[in-house]
Symmetry: C2
Subunit: 199 residues, 2 copies
């Protein structure tokens, strides 16, 4: 059985998006500042070009991913990533209402309308013995609150955004303690940190 | 000439104090979870007991500190640390009004009433060729905004506080980018990160 993991690129002051969806250029500089090319699935996305240290970690982790859980907001914001998620795995979209243009689930997107536990269960079924990755923000918050989350990954970048969207949103039950970091990898302009959720 | 540095123990979600001055027990667990004892100056404070990795870094850094700059809020909150700051160096207190019980400056505390630039200048004078450390929060914010800050140190701990006081408060001019981390040291339950401010 795989693990349930959330992860995000985060500013030094704790934001995964700046005010009014700004700051992505600064947050994701590490996606383009290295020598190792990692192709992405989906339509028209340039490959990542990251440091060797980042690439070694990220490649290993991506191979372990069997399915994703994202919210409807991100699905809409990215226009369904042009048809398939860049990580090239089936993606469970938690939503109140199935999109009108997607009457059926397929190998790219599965829609779940009855809550985070059902979404994670569906993703686990799709992932088999590989891991489920849950998107940061509201999805991660709901997973952590429901006791479904096993690990948290933070790609910490040296920028102060001053506001925006946080990794766990308006988390109920804070403070919450993690164990670790169990992994610390220094890339170029990014520090990869991995924590375990205490059960 | 020394550097001007700020540093703080910070939660994974970016807070140096939790809601209503809570969370210090969680933030500072790393001060008591190791084998290496580091004595503190001042009245009745127990020594730090930190990991060997943390101790090696912290000892080296503390030896380089020549003076501190703190705000009046912290000075009052700690009751002047019982008479001398635990780091055992002269401390410049930025305040609107000198405390009535301190008509004169002495070797422990110097009061500056005409702004952050004057406070840092005074601390540099006291520090000689050693470094000046500026307290996190409002002091760090004012220093960064005034272009006075050279380095930022974060002791990142695996706790989510969900709210509170941030490292740079309500920073004007965000986003701000740093270089680094130039140092990453993994202690026990804490990750020591050091960044350089871009000039």
């Amino acid at each position: 059985m795989g693990k349930v993991i959330t992860g995000a690129t985060m500013s030094l002051d704790g934001f995964i998006a700046g005010p009014e969806e700004s700051g992505f250029d600064l947050l994701f500089q590490w996606h383009g500042n290295g020598d190792v090319e990692i192709p992405l699935a989906g339509a028209d996305l340039p490959p990542l070009r990251i440091s060797a240290a980042s690439a070694e970690l990220i490649r290993h982790e991506w191979e372990g991913i069997g399915a994703l859980v994202v919210g409807r907001y991100l699905y809409d914001l990215t226009s369904a990533w042009g048809g398939r998620h860049p990580l090239d795995v089936p993606t469970v979209v938690l939503t109140h209402n199935r999109p009108a243009d997607r009457p059926e689930d397929d190998e790219n997107f599965v829609f779940v309308t009855d809550g985070i536990e059902a979404a994670v269960a569906k993703a686990k079924e799709l992932a088999g013995d590989r891991n489920v990755v849950v998107n940061g923000g509201q999805m991660a918050r709901q997973c952590l609150e429901a006791g479904l989350l096993d690990e948290v990954g933070v790609e910490l970048v040296p920028v102060v955004l001053g506001g925006g969207k946080t990794l766990f949103g308006e988390l109920a039950g804070a403070p919450v303690q993690f164990d670790g970091p169990v992994t610390v990898v220094q890339g170029s302009g990014v520090t990869h940190l991995r924590y375990r959720v205490r059960k």
